[in-house]
Amino acid sequence: MTLLSVQDLTVTFRTRGGPVSRPVDGASLDLERGELLALVGESGCGKTTLALSLLRLIPEPPGRIDPSGRITFDGADLLRLSPAELRPVRGGGIALIFQDPGSSLNPVLTIGAQVVEVVRAHTTLDRRAARARARGLLASVGVGDAEYRLDQYPHQLSGGLRQRAMIAMALAGNPRVLIADEPTTALDVTVQAQILDLLADLKRRLGLAILFITHDLSLAAGVADRVAVMYAGRVVEQAPAARLFAAPSHPYTAALLAAIPRVDRPARRLSVIPGQPPPATDWPRGCRFRPRCRYAWARCADEPPLQEAGPDHQARCWLINEPERRGP
């Protein structure tokens, strides 16, 4: 069952005297109850702007969420809620963690003070009870010696522990959705594996639905139930993880997969995608991947709609109707 649904979301940024930027331009996706959906894309594809827009966290102005879009959570359209109505959703319904826990934590407050603050914002607990709850939250996300950690400052914690503290704060309001924006990018690979374990565990244990935003298709392969691939402000393909990696339907997904260096498959030459991603101020006309696509033909001058490419699998590409063009 769909818990969080994004339909035709468009976000624009107006810069003084400069061109209008449209980092998210007609993006749609559904997050199901209790699933881990990976939103994958390269820098500048709009994935972080999309995540921030879900809780209306982009600064308006200069940003603007186009009112024609819809973000439905728990029966309410988040784009039409008043600030007072939105407040309990932030952290209570949907919580957010970021890439760099070092810059999201307050360096002059102890971990305890910061977790307690969030606990008290979401409950009526007194200070002592909130501290006990904070300790429990830290322990539940694998912070050993939680009582001791409560009195430490962020700089005294390693990167992995800081990210665990951020996750504990995100869980303080008992959210049903966790948006994790590149939560492991700043971490070492062995620590990354630990945090991925933790997210999988939270999904199982708390039935949390997770929107996992990453630039790394390899990570998505390991943890996601479903994967949505974003390019130039739109979701260009989505499918269950097993299917997306076995039979990618969009040429961008296929090309990105082929360009990933792999530990399990050495090759002196990697396959590449020519050119570079377009800027958000000037998305290409027609299919946005057309200038870089090896299969592009006349039809691609028109923008393809998101269409069925298989069971629970959609992609924005005309090749779905003319598979023979893909060649043998």
Binding site: V189, T190, Q194, L196, L219, A259, I260, D264, L270, Q276
Partner: protein, 333 residues
């Protein structure tokens, strides 16, 4: 590839002073702790490790961009640490560095054509119009348009800036390049282009690379041999293929198990070791990896006695008492 050792580092030590606590003796952080390694002419030695392993410090010592505290560095038979003045300058022409973030390593107020031409004039390879011509030819060699010589760094994309960084390193016709995380700040589709460029340049110019990287997948595409560092120590070195097939050190095995693979059937990255590398937590005695080691055989010997790097099989070195019976991460259930 020859068996000539173009670069040979022996027992290299480099420490940095830590902020001193009042009434305590000042401490030094041993970023590189008695590391020995060599690079054959024409090959790529990859230096792999997590943050704080000392790989970047070692790379800088290898070019004497920073002065090591002890040990020796020989380049093409010359004792690099004994060279002074003009002799050192001449050697610097032969060994250059490509930095991780070209945005930070290029002068924002210098057109990229001049950035590439500057070392050409400085090392008196060519002057004036000849130097400019050479700079443009280099930009073309790394896949840029000659017209882009007139651009400032901010007018280029990240991938293009990294190409400029490579052209600048190549401008004095070196034999040897230290590549410090050359693609880690780039997107996948752009990183693949740069990795292919580095492979092409190596073949065309017969270059020798010391590739510093944290990403085992990136390393796999370029490396002839791999050296793994942990908290300042070299823990394993081996030719690339056998190392990826059967790592001998439990830390290498843990790194490989944690490396994500773009195939859902391969399962998620596996956290076979807990905790994080911390130079503060590094034991004074015994194996530096002891606190995190997943090897079932680890015992008091590991706790007491620092294992030396030893040749376990021909060409394969590991610093583990149990390297003959290596730890293998269990396959995904």
């Amino acid at each position: 590839m020859s068996t000539e050792r173009l670069l040979e580092i022996e027992q290299l030590v480099k420490g940095f002073p830590l902020p001193a606590a009042p009434f305590r003796a000042p401490l030094r952080l041993l970023a590189v702790d008695h590391v020995s390694l060599f690079v054959h002419r024409g090959e790529t030695l990859a230096l792999v490790g997590e943050s704080g392993s000392g790989k970047t410090t070692l790379g800088r010592c290898a070019l004497r961009l920073i002065e090591p505290d002890a040990g020796t560095v020989h380049f093409a038979g010359l004792n690099l640490l004994a060279l002074r003045g003009e002799a050192l300058r001449r050697l610097r022409r032969r060994a250059q560095m490509v930095f991780q973030d070209a945005t930070l390593s290029l002068n924002p107020r210098m057109r990229v054509g001049r950035a590439v031409g500057e070392p050409i004039e400085m090392h008196q390879v060519a002057r004036g119009a000849a130097a400019r011509e050479r700079a443009v030819a280099l930009l073309q060699e790394v896949g840029l348009d000659p017209a882009q010589a007139e651009c400032y760094p901010h007018q280029l994309s990240g991938g293009q800036r990294q190409r400029v960084g490579i052209a600048r390193a190549l401008s004095v016709d070196p034999e040897f390049l230290v590549l410090d995380e050359p693609v880690s700040s780039l997107d996948v589709s752009i990183g693949a282009q740069v990795l292919n460029l580095l492979a092409d340049l190596q073949e065309r110019r017969g270059l020798t690379y010391l590739l510093i990287a944290h990403d085992l997948a990136v390393v796999r595409h370029l490396a002839t041999r791999v050296a793994v560092m942990y908290l300042g120590r070299l823990v394993e070195s081996a030719p690339a293929d056998p190392l990826y097939r059967k790592p001998l050190h439990p830390y290498t095995a843990s790194l490989l198990a944690a490396a994500p693979v773009p195939d859902p059937a391969a399962g998620p990255p596996r956290a076979v070791i807990a905790g994080e590398p911390s130079s503060m937590a590094r034991p004074v005695r015994g194996c530096p990896f002891y606190p995190r080691c997943p090897h079932p055989a680890k015992d008091t010997r590991c706790k007491e006695e620092t294992p030396d790097l030893r040749e376990v099989e021909t060409g394969r070195w590991a610093a583990c008492h149990y390297a003959n019976d290596p730890f293998l991460a269990a396959p995904t259930p």
